[in-house]
Structure formats: C-alpha cells, structure tokens
C-alpha cells in the first residue's frame, strides 16, 4: 500500500505541547515538509523563539538553537555567518518578533541576511496567558487590554510584512493564512518557496502565517478561524509583497 501521509523525518517523535485546536502544529509540519522536500534536513538548523513555540527546538529533527525573546534573527545571523555551508530559519510569534524583537527582524531583513523567517501571527501573546500583542486588533480584549485595545492610547496593530517590504534587501515576503484547508495548501507553497530560495542562497525570505489562539481568545477552534477570517484578514491581507524571483 502506498503511504501518502506520514510524519516528516524532519520532525522528531517528541509530541507537540500545543493546545487543542492550535495551528502551530500545522505550521511546524509545513516547515518540516518543505525542508525535507528540498533535501535540506541534514544541512538545516533552526532557531526557536520565546513564546508558545519556545520548545520548537525539541520538535525539529536537526540541530536547533533556542534564542532569547525576539533575538532569533540575531542568533540565526551568528549561525549563518559561522556555518555558511548550512541553512538557517527562525520560527517566531508576533509578541517575540513584532515587539521585543523589532530591531533584530528589521536589521536582519535589511542586511538581506541568508535566512528564512516563519512568523506566526495570532494577534496575542499565547505562552504568557493572553496579553496584548503589537498585532492585537483595535478594540480586541486581552488580559492587558481588558477594555479593548484603544488605538488612541497604544496605537494600531503593526503590519510587519508591509513594514519589511519597505526595505530594499529582502528577497521574498508573503503573508498567508492557516484558517482553511485551502489556505493551508497555499501557505505550503509560500513556505516551500522560502525554503527553496534559502537553499539557493537568494537572501532573506519571510512568510507571515495568520493563525488563531482558541485558548486565549476564549473561542472554540472552529469559531476562532471564522473570527480570524472576519477580523484579522481585513487588516492583515494575505498576498505576496515581494518576490524577486519573479520580478
């Protein structure tokens, strides 16, 4: 019998630690599959962030580093400069990448650093218990915006992909969604393209994946996806912002 679905070799057998209904597992799988398909499993290294995916270093089946909050692009820079024969990616959430790690991501992108960044945006801090993120939507309630995010007080959500697309160096920037099976197939294509460009040494590649947080949003997994479609996608529009490979 032909095996058409299996756990990628590029993932360890360690069970994921994510909440039921969380989409990190899907995102991990897409990244792992893309690495395997490009034949990079033995030459790849990844950098885990601080946040829900802090344990990503246990899940990917190759050498991994765990970075301080927001510092993953700097750590990945050090790895790539020390081991130019290897390939590197970071896997980061929106609290990690878009708040405390703003300087690191902007400057890694601006240098055109040879790395892929997978940025999972669910508009909230998950690991620490549902606090406001830089990507939290206007009027959205979190444990640190209990009356809703007030834009006249704390500003609007940051659109990181658009921000990075103002820079000259980045090679590929795309925002995708993980909210429906069809979206996931499209996301797979973007993740694969980033890894392929990484393999080819094209430069800095960045994929933002719009995701959910059923636990901290307090909405069940299916309804979370509907909520994200109605509320996140109008502000964080999916699409390719930069692809020097086809320009």
């Amino acid at each position: 019998m032909e095996k058409i679905a299996y756990r990628p070799e590029s993932l360890t057998k360690t069970p994921f630690t994510y909440c039921p209904g969380c989409l990190h597992g899907v995102a991990h799988r897409l990244v792992a599959e893309a690495i395997e398909e490009q034949g990079l499993t033995n030459k790849m290294t990844g950098v885990a962030p601080v946040g829900c995916s802090v344990f990503a270093y246990k899940f990917f089946n190759f050498d991994m580093a765990q970075a301080a909050h927001g510092r993953a692009p700097a750590v990945a820079t050090g790895i790539k400069r020390a081991r130019p024969d290897m390939h590197v990616f970071t896997y980061q959430g929106d609290g990690d990448l878009a708040a405390i790690g703003t300087a690191e991501i902007v400057h890694a992108a601006n240098r055109g650093e040879q790395m892929s960044v997978f940025f999972v945006n669910n508009a909230i801090y998950g690991m620490t218990g549902g606090q406001m993120a830089p990507t939290t939507l206007p009027e959205m309630k979190t444990t640190t915006s209990p009356y809703g995010r007030k834009t006249d007080d704390i500003g609007f959500p940051i659109r990181v992909s658009e921000l990075l697309a103002t820079l000259v160096a980045p090679y590929y920037i795309e925002r995708v969604s993980l909210l429906t099976p069809a979206d996931i197939l499209k996301a797979k294509k973007a993740v694969s393209k980033a890894i392929q460009y990484n393999k080819e040494g094209r430069g800095f590649t960045f994929v933002e994946l719009i995701s959910t947080c059923p636990t901290n949003w307090g909405i069940d997994p299916i309804k979370s996806r509907d909520w994200a479609k109605e509320n996140m996608l109008p502000f964080f529009k999916v699409g390719c912002l930069r692809d020097k490979g086809v320009e």
Binding site: T12, Q66, V75, T77, I79, H107
Partner: protein, 359 residues
C-alpha cells in the same frame, strides 16, 4: 618577532585574529572604537566575518549563534554597552558556549564618561546578568598582557565551554606600548579548534547512526532538571577555581609592613609608589590578581606577612574588589581602601602619600 608599538584596543584585536577568531560582532562605543575599527579592516583579509550589529543586544546574540557552532567568536564593548549585553551573556553561560567578551571600562554609572575606570568589577565577577552563573574574568595591566590574554581567553572558553571576559579599561585600550605577538594559528589549527566541539555544536548532519540532534539551549522547564543543570555548572566552576587562579606577587616579603591589593591599571600605579617607598626603606608588598574570577583568596591571605599592619586596596571605583579582599583577609588585619571615580586615575604620588601615612 619584533615588538610593535600599538594601542591596547588594536593589540587585543590583532591577538584575537592570530588566535583563530574569525567571527566578530560588535557595536561602536568609546573608548573601544579602535578595536571594532581594527576588526573591520583586518577580518576581510583573513576571510573572517566582521559584522557591525544594530545594537549591543544583537551583537551578543550573534555571538550566541556563532558560539553555538563551536567557532571562536568575540565581541567587545565598553561599560554601558556591556550592561546591554548582560542578557545574552547569561544565556551564553547557561547554554555553556565558548565566547570571548572584551570590556574596555569607562566611568559610570549610566552613560558616565569615557575615561578609564574599574566600576564594572561587580558586574563582571559577581553576576551582572540574571541567574546563577559565573564568567572567567581576566584583568590585564599592560598592552602586552591585554594581547596575550586574547589567546588565553579563547583557550579557556574552549576548555570549559564558558564565556570569558577580558576586563580592561580605557587606559589600557587607548595607550600605546610595545607588544610582541605570537605566531598566528594556521587554518588547519583553527579548523581543529572548532572540530573539538562537534559532539555538541550546530554542525552539518548525516543520515543513519551519525545523525544528531544538538540543542543550543538554556531552557529547562522541569525544576529538577534545571536544578541539576545549575549544580553541574557549579561543579565546572569548582574545577575552574582549582585550575585557573592567577596572580602576581610584587615585592612581597616578611619585611612588608603594608600589603596592597590592586588589579589592572590601578596595580601599575601602586607598583610605582611601592618602588619609591623602597628607596626610603619602607617595605610594601602587592598582590595583583591577574584573573579576578576565580579570585586568589588564599594568595592574598598567605601574603600577609608577620609585620603587616594593614591591607590596603586601591581601585578606580568606590571599593568593589575590596569585598573579595575582606573575604580573603577574614579579619586577620585591618583592611583599608582608597579609590578614585569619575574616570580620574590616581597618581603614584597620591598612592605613595596614602601608604606613607601608614608608617
């Protein structure tokens, strides 16, 4: 090899390159600018990586990544910049990575000034970053020693998988002295230095039995596992303490009526004063810790001769190493302290006067 007249900042950079450092990440700050500029000029000539980071924080995290690959990597800064690096230094110590950090100290606190000072002793020796960890801390007193310490620091970092700090100051960084360099390591020797870490570091993988999953990590979420990890770190620190105490004795004898303890730039000035007093038949000894961690407690205690009335500590701060000297002396004789701050360096005549008043 002939001696070359060089600034300390440049000499330590040249010595680091000769010791196989091919990765350097830093952010500009006075008074260590000549160091980063030297690296910018010289690294491309040895096919090394020079990268000016966007911040001190990024620079130390780049060091974390490169050290995680087992390669000889260095960063440098001055006091306010070292404070910013402390987060990363704690992670590097926690993850047990070999790295060298140079601090060309200036006056503090805050932005302070850009003149020489020794105000970062506590930060370097007693912690600085969060958690229980220890740096190996080397304190040069001349441009030659500053340069020599580069290769020693890399060897110690590799041997113990621990960050090593060279704690210099603006005086040593800026002044020129003749310096003699060791022959540079060959590419093959540098390769071998890196290879010794292949059992744990980020390196290319292979299928089958050779496949590895190395984790560069300081997170242990299980308290019992973290407890064991920290206890293991401290077992390593015990070994370092047994092996790596280094100090210099200057004019120490049973005739000493005063025993001085001073480190780095301050120790040079104390030596000048001791030589002057010698001419008047006044006997003063000096213990100069060369490594300030691990600290030579026993050496200080043993140097207290039968006639010593007082142990006198001189530092370019408000009395930081003083605490370690008090631990070493343990109440045996009185311990006195005099220091200058604000980036002002005391003169031999001032030290001489302080010592003469004790006779």
């Amino acid at each position: 090899m002939a001696k070359i007249l060089m600034k300390g900042n440049e000499a330590v950079a040249e010595a680091a390159i000769r010791s196989g450092c091919r990765l350097y990440f830093a952010y500009p700050i006075t008074p260590q600018s000549e160091l980063i500029e030297y690296m910018a000029r010289m690294m491309p000539k040895v096919n090394g990586c020079f990268l000016q980071a966007e911040s001190e924080v990024s620079a130390i995290n780049m060091v974390y990544g490169a050290a995680g690959c087992g390669k000889r990597v260095m960063t440098s800064s001055s006091s306010p910049g070292i404070s910013l690096k402390m987060e990363g230094i704690s992670y590097i110590a926690g993850a047990e990575l070999p790295a060298v950090i140079v601090n060309v100290q200036r006056g503090g606190p805050g932005l302070g000034d850009i003149q020489p000072a020794q105000g970062d002793y506590f930060q370097a020796v007693k912690g600085g970053g969060h958690g229980d960890y220890q740096l190996i801390v080397m304190a040069p007193a001349s441009v030659q020693e500053f340069a020599d310490m580069a290769s020693e620091a890399f060897d110690l970092a590799d041997k113990y998988r621990n960050p090593v700090m060279i704690l210099a100051d603006g005086m040593l960084g800026q002044m020129m002295e003749p310096v003699e360099f060791k022959e540079p390591l060959s590419d093959a020797e540098i390769e071998a230095k890196g290879k010794q870490h292949d059992s744990w570091c980020i390196c290319p993988n292979e299928d089958g039995e050779g496949k590895h999953h190395h984790e560069i990590n300081s997170l242990e979420i299980d308290p019992l596992v973290l407890e064991k990890h920290v206890n293991d770190l401290y077992k390593k620190y015990d070994v370092i303490t047994q092996n790596e105490i280094r100090y210099e004795e200057f004019n120490v004898s049973d005739d000493n009526e005063i025993l001085c303890v001073a480190w780095g730039t301050a120790s040079r000035i104390v030596k000048s004063a001791i030589n002057e007093l010698k001419k008047d038949g006044k006997s003063v000894g000096l213990i100069r810790p060369i490594n300030v961690w691990p600290y030579p407690y026993e050496a200080v205690a043993k140097a207290i001769g039968p006639k010593v009335k007082k142990v006198y500590v001189f530092e370019l701060n408000k009395g930081q190493m003083l605490d370690d000297v008090k631990i070493a002396v343990n109440g045996k004789v009185p311990v006195d302290f005099w220091g200058k701050v604000g980036g002002i360096v005391f003169t031999p005549a001032e030290i001489q006067a302080k010592l003469e008043a004790c006779f």
